[in-house]
């Protein structure tokens, strides 16, 4: 779905929640007249289960699209081995192979990207522009953060991940 120039992607979990509650509401309204009398606010509430994730996804993707040019301008290309705790806050660009992908179904994908010098976690807090899979060669733009904000190993808070072709 496209809103303006932003491609919005709803997670499968949000769709599943909407479908389950729609079925429950449909069944309950058939068997109970009390539920039928409350449909005037139950149906909008049901719709909100889909609207809120769409709105959140739109806002986050819009914001990511806005800051991507800044990151492209400021990022330094580094090797994974050079990323360490002292670099927290730095904007970096890495190139590597995707070794693992987690939580893509939640629209909060977490990748494990490796180059010849090491491996690092790349976290994204919205859906990526491209469907990135294991073994894809990618370019990652992002900021070095700690895994749990104030503590933990350094990871990359990803603003952009895109597939690249390497000769």
């Amino acid at each position: 779905m496209k809103i303006g120039d932003v491609e919005v992607q709803v997670s499968i979990v949000a769709v599943a929640v909407f479908v389950i509650f729609a079925i429950l509401l449909g069944a309950a309204s058939i068997v109970s007249s009390n539920v039928r009398s409350q449909l005037i606010w139950l149906v909008p509430a049901l719709v909100m289960l889909l609207v809120i994730p769409i709105a959140l996804n739109y806002m986050s993707r819009r914001q990511y699209a806005d800051i991507k040019p800044i990151y492209e301008r400021e990022a330094k290309t580094v090797r994974v081995r050079l990323i360490n705790e002292s670099m927290v806050g730095k904007i970096v660009r890495i190139e590597g192979v995707v070794e693992r992908v987690h939580f893509q179904f939640l629209n909060r994908p977490q990748y494990s990207v490796a180059d010849r010098t090491g491996e690092i976690s790349v976290k994204m807090f919205t859906s990526p522009d491209e469907n990135v899979k294991v073994n894809d060669i990618v370019e990652v733009l992002g900021q070095v953060i700690r895994r749990y904000i104030v503590t933990g190993d350094p990871v990359i808070n990803c603003v952009s991940i895109r597939k690249i072709k390497k000769s």
């Binding site: 050079l82 360490n84 002292s86």
Partner: protein, 281 residues
């Protein structure tokens, strides 16, 4: 170096406050103890609020969260157990439900403790917490102490600055510092001068996001005994290029540590990066 090792330098010494096995044992003891107390109250009829036994699970949750906190690799599930224990207290239940809940909670905490021990490593040590030097890095610093302790304090200080700036990702500053550093102290040790030149080359390339050039600086074979990671004879130019940088950075780290005592706190703060360079292939 002032702190001559009196124990195996490759073995990390635990911090004084490091908990022992008794703290780990406290988790099941407190949680199951509380559940057992609840059963006793249930059978005999408690003369007071039976929910007092829930405190066993609350204390056990805090101990588990503490054990999770002191590990370098954090377990978010174990860290949040105190929150669940408060929810546990806040919800009023009858004694039967309370006993069942406490038993299930005690089992959950014990499983989380086992998970913490086997999946999230050992508690932090003085080395991993950056309080003291340790591991193979300490061994390397000890081995190179004699050859680097004679360098001038100015050069050693410059080495510390360049290392810290590079670790922070301030490559322009590192390039600038490594370009001027050898001349500052009048140091004539060719290995340190070459280390500065290699870091200058890499910092300049990194600051401009440029790839490996066709020709680049490396350490000659005569310097291999002084390198932390002598290059293996393989025709892999990328790895040779990366290895030259690792060795150059570690030389500066060792030189700074051995000859500039006032910079040690800054070097300790970047120790994790140096350890990473040491342990990488």
């Amino acid at each position: 170096m002032a702190d001559t090792p009196t124990y195996n330098p490759n073995q990390e010494r635990p911090t004084e406050e490091m908990p022992d096995w008794r703290m780990e044992l406290a988790v099941p003891l407190l949680s199951f103890g509380g559940a057992l107390l609840a059963i006793v109250f249930w059978i005999n009829g408690a003369p007071f609020d039976f929910r007092i036994s829930i405190l066993g699970c609350v204390f056990a949750s805090w101990v588990l969260a503490y054990l999770a906190w002191i590990r370098p690799k954090k377990d978010i599930v174990a860290l949040t157990t105190p929150i669940y224990s408060f929810i546990f207290i806040a919800v009023p239940t009858d004694i039967f439900s309370s006993v069942i809940l406490q038993l299930l909670y005690a089992v959950s905490l014990t499983i989380l403790l086992i998970r913490l021990k086997y999946r999230f490593g050992k508690p932090g040590t003085a080395v991993s917490l950056g309080k003291e030097m340790g591991g193979s890095l300490k061994t390397y610093i000890g081995q190179t102490r004699d050859s680097f302790s004679g360098i001038s304090p100015e050069t050693a200080h410059a080495a510390a600055i360049v290392f810290v700036r590079f670790a922070e990702g301030n490559y322009e500053d590192a390039a600038q510092g490594s370009r001027t550093a050898p001349a500052d102290g009048g140091n004539s040790d060719p290995v340190i001068i070459l280390a500065f030149r290699i870091i200058h080359e890499h910092s300049t390339l990194l600051s401009r996001s440029q790839p490996r050039p066709v020709t680049y600086l490396t350490f000659p074979e005569k310097d291999f005994p002084r390198l932390a990671k002598p290059p293996v004879a393989a025709h892999d130019e990328d790895m040779e290029f990366y290895s030259a940088l690792d060795n150059a950075l570690l030389i500066l780290f060792s030189a700074a540590w051995n000859a500039s005592e006032r910079d040690r706190p800054h070097l300790l703060a970047c120790q994790a990066f140096a350890q990473k360079l040491m342990s990488s292939k």
